[in-house]
Amino acid sequence: MRKKICFFLVLLTAVLFLFTAYSMIWKMNSLIYLESRLQGPSWHAWFGTDFLGRDYFARVTQATVITLGSVFISFLGSTLFGAAYAWLWSHAGHFKFIFEQCLNFFIFFPQLILAFIFSAGIESGMMRVVGSLIFAHWMIFAQFFSTQQQVWLESPLHESAKNLGYSNFELRGEVFWKMHLKPLFGILLRTQWPSFLLTESTLSFLGVGYASPYVGLGSLLGENGVALRAHPHLFLFPLLSLFCLYGLLSWISKKGTQSTGFSNLRKPWIA
């Protein structure tokens, strides 16, 4: 119980911090003071200032919010796309093998390469990043939903529930969702966050993700890599932020898998 309270407190604090900071310093972020450019961390500017004299704390917070936002939107998109694919697959009749082959074809590619393929097809911006993330992850969700459906249809519980007179809607909604899909989907939800985060940061870092003025943590790191020796704060603070965010999401995924009794489940991994 204590662990759960701690977990929710940490999550609540993080969310409150992000949204308050985001809304408070949104205006501050766009202000350019050329006379105070490239200053180190101080009380006045916690993370220092960048090449245009903008407050770097505001920039990092904005980047964190944009990164987190794209992670959540892509997660939602992947879930919807995966569920739709699994539904179509289950109703494909004689053409099921096409769906299966298609999924197998995508699943053995590294996620980063899939993200690259998609990013070449969309012009820069949020659509490119979100689309790439969905394109790189949808098959995990499709496979998950399809497998769960198969397990459910073959289980004796399904047969007995049917014999008890449950309608098809009740079977799906009440029994299948609550007993089979919900706990496992909870695990998937928690364990995929770090993977989404890393793919987004890698894309932005390599220059095919967010482009200025909208920045993700990866783009901040990519832009300021050259200034590492002369102005380390421009590189270190986004790196620290990415590290903390990844740690937090991994911790949530670990706690999530433990609380549902899957303590041996490994964290997902991309490049």
Partner: protein
């Protein structure tokens, strides 16, 4: 012979589908390589379009692209001023990446196996330290690790040899994870094997420790790696993208990102085709190898 033929057919079909999907996808984007910020002269644009077949229909373009494979190696990059064809250029970069990631992967797997064997005779505290390092290496993503290594390189004294920054740190960033996984899997498997009755029996027979290890412990503990190796290698190849970009190493990452940003269609499709073709071959050969070793 029949299996080889079927495998070849499967490879050709998958490769063509992959190239087709990528080709169509990149051509769906509004605009193209000839649409610049400063508009080109219409006559010049038309001439360039004729040369690179951009004026033709998309399916026509695809067939011309496939037909150019034999003579021109998927044509020439539109943005690069290179005398080499797109396929040759991407092969040069890809072979660099493959050489680097293959070497790192092999070394880390061998080190992992060696370390796990040696750990059986190490003191408990040292083994715990290695286990902690491997847990950490398993959890730390390549992107974060490479960036931390980059910081270390930036602040390292100038006397540090070039090899440290160009080879050792990238190899460490890329190889820590496969090493961690191999070390953990083999070490734990060895510990479990030591508790099995056949091991006690072999020990009671009075076999020498070396023979006992290699004959009854090593082979059994390495078997689980057969399933892991394809996944790990796939991760290492994908991680090489990040490491090459962070440490500015020559490889396919720079070429691929450049081709995306410059809208260089032939180069992009050649890079992805080469990469995908390699993965299709690698996966199918690993399947065959596994069915041969564990029928």
């Amino acid at each position: 012979m029949r299996k080889v033929f079927l495998g070849l057919v499967q490879f050709i079909v998958l490769f063509t589908v992959l190239v087709f999907v990528v080709f169509i996808l990149v051509h769906l984007v509004p605009g193209g390589p000839l649409d610049r910020e400063v508009a080109l002269d219409p006559q010049l644009k038309h001439a360039l379009g004729e040369k690179y077949h951009y004026n033709k229909g998309i399916l026509h373009q695809f067939f011309l692209f496939i037909l150019s494979f034999k003579e021109e190696g998927f044509g020439y990059g539109t943005a690069t001023q290179s005398p080499f064809s797109a396929l040759e250029l991407s092969w040069r970069s890809f072979s660099n990446s493959l050489y680097f990631s293959g070497a790192v992967f092999l070394i880390s797997v061998m080190l992992g196996i060696l370390w796990s064997g040696l750990s059986l005779s190490f003191p408990r505290l040292v083994v715990r330290a290695f286990l902690f390092l491997s847990e950490w290496g398993n959890a730390c993503p390549v992107l974060v690790l490479s960036l931390v290594c980059l910081c270390a390189l930036a602040w390292a004294p100038s006397k540090v040899p070039e090899f440290f920054g160009k080879e050792l740190l990238p190899a460490f960033a890329l190889g820590l994870r496969p090493w961690s996984v191999v070390f953990q899997v083999v070490y734990r498997s060895q510990l479990e094997s030591q508790k099995l009755p056949y091991f006690f029996y072999a020990q009671a027979k009075g076999l020498s420790p070396v023979r006992l290890y290699f004959r009854h412990l090593f082979l059994n503990s390495v078997l689980p790696l057969l399933d892991l190796i394809p996944v790990l290698f796939q991760n290492v190849m994908a991680g090489a993208f990040v490491v090459e970009s962070v440490f500015n190493k020559p490889g396919i990452a720079r070429l691929l990102v450049g081709s995306i940003l410059n809208r260089d269609y032939p180069l992009f499709v050649a890079c992805i085709g080469l990469y995908g073709g390699f993965f299709i071959l690698f996966q199918s050969s690993m399947k065959r190898l596994k069915s041969y070793l564990m029928p």
